[in-house]
Each structure stands twice: as C-alpha cells, then as structure tokens.
Amino acid sequence: MKTLLIVKEKEFSWLGSTFQNCHPLATQICKKPLLEYFIDFSILCGINDIRLATDAPTEELVDQFGQGSRWGISLDYSPVRETDELDEIIQKNSLYCKDSRLLVVKGFCFLHYDKNIDYKYFMHNVEPGELSSCETGSVRVMDDLSQSGTVPASDSPTLSLSPVSNVGDIHRLSMEILMDHSDQYVLPGYNNEDHIYIGHNVTIAKKAKIIPPVMIGNHVQIYGETVVGPGAIIGSDVIIDAHSSVQDSVIFDKTYVGEHLELKNKLLGGNLIVDPDTGTQVHLEDPHLLSQVKSSKKSLPLIHRIFHQITALLAVIIMALPYAAFALILKLQKRWLNEKETVFINSSGRTVELVRVTIKDDGLVGRIARSLSLERFPVLIRVMQGKLALIGSRALPADEENRKVLDEYQAYRPAAFSYAEAESWPAEDSDWEIVERFHLARRSLLRDYLMALKAVLNSFN
C-alpha cells in the first residue's frame, strides 16, 4: 500500500509565507509539521511509500523532510498542474500507483488519528472509496488491483479530517490536541508529567509558574513571575520576559515576548500577533514588546563561504579530467561504486542527497584515484553549491539517531573533508566528534585553509 498526498497551492495560499516563514505543509500544529502527521499516519497503516503531488515549489520541503529516511520511509515529490483533477494525477503517477492499494489524501487539511490503533488491517481490507472528508479535503482508499475490500468504510477506527483554511484553524487544532488529544499523536518534547511537554535546554526561572497543559520547545527561556499555561504552546528559541503570561496561545519559533504582556487566545511569531477568532494581524513595531529572536548559531561568514566555494570550484576544474578517466576505468573493472546517501546539512535537520563513491581497488589505479581524492568529486560539487563546507564536520547520515546527536551539536557544519580526517583521527574512534568541535570553535580562514590542505595531504599517504 502507498500514500499519495495531493495538495494544491491555491488551497494554502491564504497562509502566505509571513507567519511561520516555512512551507505551508511544514506549518506546525502542536510544534509538529502538518506533513509529519500524514507521515506518522501512513506508518501506522504499514505504508512505506509516500508521494506528495503538488503544484507548489517543494525545495523547502525537500530540505526539511528529505527523502523520508528520518522516518524509515520513502518520500518523494511529484509535480502536478493547478488544473489537474484526481484522475489525471493518478494517471500521471500511474507507475507509482500501479499494482498497489492507494491511500489518497487530497487537500490542505488535518487528519485525526490515534497512534494507539493499528490501522494496517483496516486499510488493507477496507472497501475502496472515501473514508472521510471535510470542507477542504478528503481521504480515500483506491485499489488498482480491482480488489474489493471486506471491511466497510463505516467500520473505520478513529479517522477524520478537519479543514485547515485559516489561522483560526491552526490555533483551534493546536489547542484541541494539546488539551484533549495529546495521547493520540507522537508529539515532540519530553513528557514525564501529564500534559507537559518540554524540549531540551529550557530555562525556567524559580518564580515562573507552569500550568498544564503546556508544550515548550528547545532553547526556551522563561523569566521570573511569568505564568505559562494552561494551553500554551511555545516554539523553540523563544524568550518570555518577566511578569508576562501566556494562555491558550501559540508562540512560534524564534520569538521574544517582552515584559508585562498578556497573551490570551493569540498566535504569534516574531513581531506578528494574530487573533485566531477574527484573523486580525498586527505587526508590532516595538522590539521590546515582541520581536524575532536572532539565531545564536554561528553562521559561516560570507568570506569563509566564498573561500570554500572557490577552492571547491578550482578543485573540481583540476579533478574533472582525472575523475572522468579513473571513474571510467574503475567502473569497467566494477571497482567503482556510487551510492546515494542523505545527510544532514545543518543542526536544525535540513538534509541533502550526496553521492558517495567507494573505490574497491587496492591496485595502482585505485591507489592513485584515492590519493587524488577523486571519490570526493561529487561532494565537492555540493561544496561549490554552498550546501557543504570544504572542511568541517563529517556529514552525518540523516537518521533518527543522528537527529538526536544534532540536537546537542549546534556547531555542526558538514564538509567534504573533516577536521578529524585532517588530524588523521581514526574513523572508528568515537572521539572524532570532540576533535571536530574543538576545531569548529576555533575556526578561521587561515586555519580552514591549512586543515583542508592537511586533509588532502593525508589522502596521499
């Protein structure tokens, strides 16, 4: 069985890009991107293949969700036209849809399910047809194998849709889940106490009051005499200054809430505050009231980036001919293996696909190819594109375990060559991360240049 999500841009154009500064499908409901709910539900149905068919740009989604490896599924993206009807979309994706039952979710909506229910049996045996619908979408099962199901759709376990057609819906759904249905979904944060979800690196002042249900993200500071909750959803990198209160409200990531403010039944992100009941939006001009928190993460200065990109460009030009020649020879000998790998490109979980080359030859040709670092050629192209650094951390494969590593590794900067490599640190030694952190904290243009040179020279030996 496979999932086909069909979402057209016109269905979420009302959201714009102002509110959360992210792709609408990454809009957070209870701090979890909307698309992730569909992924979770598909997994509950025993589905490993998900395709998103949309007429909207997907680059941001690809950056954030990659190919689904974080969830152990395959997630891909298919372009459609705004005018395409369901039949046409199915036809265009006929190869994907062929010989498989299909769970089709159409529209910009929220799918209510219960993680405690096993949907596998139901989904594989339900009669094809619509399972649920709302004003903005529908969910149905289609069967290309012309098999009729044995279970009527009316026997569906918890499964319904809610429209997401205005900012009020985002607020309402977030509050409903937090208040009454948090046990139905996998929600982010530690949950040691009932109805309290707290991320890591959260500082709560002694005199602050937390009243459940609340959900607090990562790197949050809550100052003294504040009252958070009931019904507070606070994003990551948020500061709530003294004597303020947050109730029945959603605060999105990277927001500063000033002193002595009262947030009741509101949504806010940066300096934008929204009344979910009326949809009224106000951009506050006083940064001491509400403002965007600038990321404390050290971004690579422009000059560093340019140095990395130009060096990579030069390396690519020099290596192009030897790469083509050696790759051809070794491929003919079947000693040149290309493997695609999705890696994290920053600590917030963005990913990129890399081609990893393995040279399985200990003969002269293989040794020369390795000493020329030809296996890095495809990675250097990513450096040229600015996706990776020339020297930095090892690029970590995008999986759940490494996602946890990144939560504690803010300086992570994946590169074609790693500092540990430059220092000839053994790959199997777990201390390589310490070596990388040490150099990342002390990096400079000259240092990077010398370390990159050292890494290249090491490959000669």
Binding site: H260, L261, E262, L263, K264, K266, I273, D275, T278, T280, Q281, V282, L284, E285, D286, H288, L289, L290
Partner: protein, 122 residues
Amino acid sequence: MDIQITATQHGTIGIAAPKDRIDAVNSRALRRHFDLALKKTNQFIFDCRKLDFLDSTGLGALVSCLNKANSAQGELCLFGINPKVKIIFELTQADKLFPIFTDMESALSSFANRKTSEELSQ
C-alpha cells in the same frame, strides 16, 4: 491633533479623534494639546474609529492623558477601537486601564451614569 471642546447635556467634554496612528512622531503633540484642553475640562472621549495603529510611545501618551484626567478628578474613555488596536490594548493590558466603549452614545452615557452615582453619594 486638535481636541475639540464640546458642550453636551453631560457637561463640557473634550473629544479627540486621532487619525491613522499615534506614535513617537505625534505623541508629543497629543500630550501638548491634551494639557491645553485640560484647562477647559476634565472629561475626555477619544474617538478611535480612524486610529489604525499605536506603538508603545503612543500608548504611553494615552496612559499619560488618562493619568492627568484622573488627577484632575475627571475621566477619559475610548470608543470605536478597531481590532488591530484592540490586540495592542489586550497584549499590553491597557484594556484594563481605560474604559472602552463601542460607540459615542455608550461613552457619553458612562459620564452621565458616573455623574448620577456621584450626586447620589453626596
């Protein structure tokens, strides 16, 4: 911003009708006009129907006017606040400081009610 002094059945009332926004640029003028008007009356109504936005300086100016009116044993109320300005009032809890009404009639009758209750207590 001019504050018109109008004689009504409820007494002499200063009516201010700020337009567009009250911010760092015009809040000083508001304070100055208010001080002048305070010499003629201590009852004020701010008609906010055309007010689109106010920043913290503007809000500070309004609170200053309220304090001055209260110190002069008078009062100041607002009406016709649009949803955007309402959000700012709610956020800063200024809605707890000011009597806020939906229209001019309710604002005027609040003065009348107050006067009656004061007369009764005397």
